[in-house]
């Protein structure tokens, strides 16, 4: 029975029945008596002082500004960091005298319908005094046009240096030096469901109930209590069905504070629903990184050292709870990737700009980091005249060195990175592709093969997070397991499942321990009123942390049930054992349902020394080391580039991934495929460009291209399974991984295709226009590999763009 439903089984999802019949319940589906809609007046300017806000007299009482919220005791959102030098930015949920990005909420308008609320919003007039705009990352860092936060000395949230070994000596002596300037564009996360909030003051319960489309209900509750200045006990946060998150729903949002305050102040339910234009404008908040990166290697391609200057465009505020330091802090520590080398220097800066505040998007800093280091690995291969996979194999941490502590003290727990690369190369048929390249394509396009490999720290624990001093440090993950009086199982977790299938996978975990049919196991999640505290679903942590916690709680249930069962079987506890939902001793056995009946309804039959906590357990879990698990994957892709138009088509895509032990392979594959599709979006399609005035130039899906069915190719997945030695079942976090490598792999493939032309791309998205520009700017190569001299990118940057200028080493 266990093998059919437990850990490792491709069990069908419990979620599907309701979702396939349209019976899910998303935030926007909640209708409450007397509910009114909120529409926000958002700033049309990227940087301006507010001189006055004028509300038509007939709408006084329906329009609220920061003055109203402040009078009501609301405090700004403040996500601090304990890192030295971090500058604090207060983010008032409605602008306080100044706006700092286009789309920032300025006033909240309440109407009977959203249409009516928008009518009112259209009548609110704001008198602005325009300020110089810092739209460009480099410029805001180096030559700011104005101060975004008046009390700061510059526009930098944080500068962080990581220095290991002696890069200067390596630089002076290494035979190979390659450099790249690399840029990852700003984009949106685009869950199909926008954010949404329905807030109501429940008079009878004296409780503010906030239904919100969030990945982290307990953290939203914490943040709301801080901003509203009330006890957490006054607030219940419920995340119903949530239509995708990818990070965008992993924050305390200004709109949540606004709606929560209004519900109580107005004493009627209110709703705010993020529409797509609001999302594309005010949530253009992910990914924007710039790298100036140099690698040193020996003549065989062995990596000797890495030197990088990195700018992360963090936007105008420090978003709660991850702050404006998380991404930049990660960059410094994970840029070395899965490689083994000794000398490393990284200067990483979190730059404040007049754009929406950065929020960690699936893959977080890893997508940018992988994009940078995997381009550099290809550059080394080019410089030494070897195949890109050969150079990688030379530098990857080998399995015999596992567990391995890398140059930035990351603890790689397990795996065979080189084998994953070898399998990817075999599966994509590198030899066949090289032959085909020599022959040429009948249609005149050029084909190219690209590789990328990464390892992904996931399920980060306390040790990783406490150093950042941000408002959220994960500790023990809690789960509650309860046997109902009829022998069913209820699992309660403070995580939130928004597509990750936890109602299924966590039931599989409970089944694995308890043996109860999963149809009788109910997983409750996403409600602070019903579940133990959790920091929520982020950082690819749910399978490791939630899976571990559910197993821990179920194991306590087994202990307690076994003791009661032994007593009922008149056996000594030591002579009884728990198996597939039964306690057995000698020839006798008693089912869980009977044990439950006795505990709840016939306590006179219990042993006198029974644990009074009974069949209701809350247990906590931390992996053996909380340095996180390291899943990893090699991506291999073949593209065809139309050199006339710059169009890129993906012809084949292979991923070889190692998620450790998979709780549910079907779900793991779904996560991998979905992540890759998003990564392809990052690579080829998605960008919110900003003009010099900080105006976003892609505010509808006509301009912001989300890949659809034809743009995502069939993807082949090859599994490797190296159990993590740190976790309950050997599982590793996998939720984000798919989104990490596609930009790097696709970029390398395009560059491979264009190599004979001497064109190199370094920026996302690799749109036809960028490919065209790179080809137009190309200088065809002369002769062989370039040993011992700087290989400059031939892409679209000019050299005065270099991050080196005016930047500290």
């Amino acid at each position: 029975m266990a093998e059919g439903m437990g850990v490792g089984a491709a069990v069908r999802r419990r979620e599907d029945e309701r979702l396939l019949k349209g019976r899910g319940r998303f935030t926007g589906d909640i209708a409450l008596v007397g509910m009114k809609d909120i529409a926000l007046v958002r700033s049309p300017l990227a940087h301006a002082r507010i001189r006055a806000i004028r509300v038509p007299p007939e709408h006084q009482g329906a329009v609220f500004t920061w003055a109203d919220l402040a009078k009501g005791g609301v405090k700004p959102i403040r996500a601090v960091s304990g890192l030295p030098g971090f500058k604090i930015s207060d983010q008032p949920p409605l602008a306080d005298g100044k706006v700092r990005f286009v789309g920032e909420p300025v006033a909240a308008c309440v109407g009977r319908t959203r249409a009516e609320a928008e009518d009112i919003a259209a009548l609110v007039e704001i008198d602005f005094e325009e300020l110089p705009v810092n739209a460009d990352t480099l410029e805001s860092a180096r030559a700011p046009k104005s101060k975004i936060h008046d009390h700061w000395s510059d526009n930098l949230f944080l500068e962080a240096d990581t220095v290991v070994g002696d890069i200067e000596t390596i630089a002076a002596s290494a035979p190979i030096k390659v450099s790249r300037q690399i840029r990852m564009a700003r984009q949106c996360m685009v869950p199909l469901e926008g954010k949404g909030v329905v807030a109501v003051w429940e008079r009878q319960a004296e409780q503010l109930t906030v239904h919100t489309s969030t990945q982290m209900p307990h953290i939203v509750r914490q943040g709301l209590a801080e901003c509203l200045g009330v006890d957490q006990g006054l607030i219940r946060v419920i995340a119903p069905d949530v239509g995708g998150g990818f990070g965008w729903k992993g924050l305390l949002q200004a709109e949540e504070v606004i709606a929560a305050w209004l519900a109580r102040a107005l004493d009627h339910p209110v709703r705010w629903t993020e529409d797509r234009r609001e999302h594309l404008v005010a949530a253009a908040n992910a990914r924007e990184h710039r790298y100036d990166i140099t690698a040193y290697a020996d003549a065989t391609g062995r990596l000797l050292g890495l030197d990088a200057r990195v700018l992360v465009d963090a936007g105008a505020y420090s978003a709660y709870p991850f702050s404006a330091c998380l991404e930049v802090g990660q960059v410094g520590s994970i840029l070395p990737g899965p490689y083994d080398f000794a000398h490393y220097r990284c200067h990483a800066v979190s730059v404040c700009t007049n754009k929406p505040p950065i929020v960690p998007y699936r893959g977080v800093a890893r997508t940018g980091v992988c994009f940078a280091i995997e381009q550099i690995m290809d550059a080394i291969a080019g410089a030494v005249g070897r195949e890109p996979h050969e150079v990688r194999l030379l530098n990857l941490v080998p399995p015999e060195k596992m567990p391995f502590v890398n140059v930035t003290k990351k603890h790689f727990d397990s795996g065979d990175y080189p084998e994953s690369m070898r399998r990817a190369v075999a599966a994509i048929d590198l030899a066949g592709i090289r032959k085909r390249q020599k022959k040429g394509e009948a249609d005149g396009r050029r084909i190219g093969l690209g590789l990328a490999i990464y390892c992904e720290q996931a399920g980060h624990g306390t040790a990783v997070y406490h150093g950042w001093g941000i408002p959220m440090v994960p500790g023990h993950e809690l789960a509650q397991a309860r046997i109902t009086p009829d022998g069913g199982i209820e699992i309660r977790v403070g995580l939130q499942s928004h597509g990750q299938s936890m109602e299924t996978t966590l039931a599989q975990v409970a089944h694995q321990v308890l043996g109860v049919d999963i149809s009788k196991i109910k997983v409750v999640h996403g409600d602070t009123g019903l579940t133990p505290f959790s920091t929520g679903t982020w950082g690819s942590r749910a399978a490791v942390m939630g899976g571990g916690a559910v197993a821990a709680a179920c194991k306590v249930l087994v202990e307690r049930a076994t003791k009661i069962g032994a007593h009922l079987l008149q056996a000594k506890p030591g002579d009884a054992k728990f198996e597939n939902g039964f306690v057995r001793a000698g020839l006798g056995h008693v089912p869980l349902a009977e044990i439950a009946r006795v505990w709840y309804r016939a306590p006179q039959l219990l042993p006198s020394d029974v644990d009074p906590g009974g069949l209701d357990v809350t247990a906590g879990y931390k992996p053996k080391s909380d340095q996180g698990t390291f899943s990893y994957a090699s991506h291999a892709v073949v593209v065809a580039v139309d050199t006339e138009t710059g169009a890129v088509e993906i012809l084949d895509y292979v991923v070889v991934e190692d998620a450790g032990v998979m709780l549910n392979p079907m779900v793991v594959e779904g996560q991998v495929l979905g992540g890759i599709a998003q990564g392809i979006g990052t690579a080829l399609y998605e960008e919110v460009p900003f003009d010099a005035e900080g105006q976003p130039l892609a505010s509808t899906f006509a301009d912001y291209l989300v890949p659809g069915f034809p743009e995502i190719p069939p993807i082949r997945i090859v599994h490797m399974t190296t159990p993590s030695p740190l976790t309950e079942f050997g599982q590793k976090g996998i939720g984000e991984g798919g989104a990490i490598a596609p930009p790097a792999a696709i970029c390398n493939a395009i560059n491979d295709a264009l190599k004979p032309l001497g064109a190199t791309l370094t920026d996302t998205p690799m749109s036809p226009k960028r490919v065209f520009a790179a080809i137009a700017a190309a200088v065809p190569p002369v002769g062989g590999p370039t040993n011992g001299r700087r290989v400059t990118p031939l892409g679209v940057h000019s050299h005065d763009d270099s991050l080196a200028a005016g930047n500290k080493p």
Binding site: R18, G22, G674, F701, F709
Partner: protein, 158 residues
């Protein structure tokens, strides 16, 4: 406000609507039929796709008043539809959904495809379905699910 008479999931409905109310809002807010989701409100994402007189349409850019006299069918009205029963089974088997937000529109479009283009190959499936965006699955599971239904129907016919 305008008076509006139309059929919704086989029932005659008489309602009073603001002319500016689009069909998606009318279904969700006034009829409490919340299977129909709004993902972009400018006709690109496909989450709001419903049937109007048997053909898929974007409910977010179709005015409710313009459906006077028409027959609207939402996913709720297709629970017992034979093709939909096959599609639901296939979507569950092939992991054709994760968060489920795009799913109602996806199913309505897929049903139309199965009936209108029974011979579609995978490439044709991808082109025909290109008006429905999914951000979770990477589309692979959905293509496999539709393939499964197309193949099964071919078999039963031959």
């Amino acid at each position: 406000m305008k008076n509006l008479a139309l059929g919704v999931n086989g029932k005659k409905i008489a309602a009073s609507v603001e002319p500016r109310t689009h069909l998606g809002d009318f279904l969700r807010e006034q009829q409490l039929l919340t299977a129909t989701h709004l993902g972009c409100e400018h006709g690109v994402c496909g989450a709001c796709t419903v049937l109007l007189d048997g053909r898929p349409v974007r409910s977010c850019i179709t005015l409710a008043v313009a459906c006077e006299g028409g027959q609207v069918t939402t996913l709720e009205g297709l629970v017992n539809d034979p093709v939909m029963i096959e599609l639901r089974e296939a979507f569950a088997a092939e992991h054709g959904l994760q968060c489920g937000f795009c799913t109602p529109g996806m199913l309505v479009s897929a049903r139309d495809l199965v009936l209108r283009k029974p011979a579609a190959d995978d490439r044709a499936v991808r082109i025909e379905m290109s008006g429905n965006l999914c951000r979770c699955t990477g589309y692979g599971g959905i293509v496999r699910a539709i393939r499964r239904v197309l193949d099964a129907r071919k078999k039963t016919k031959t």
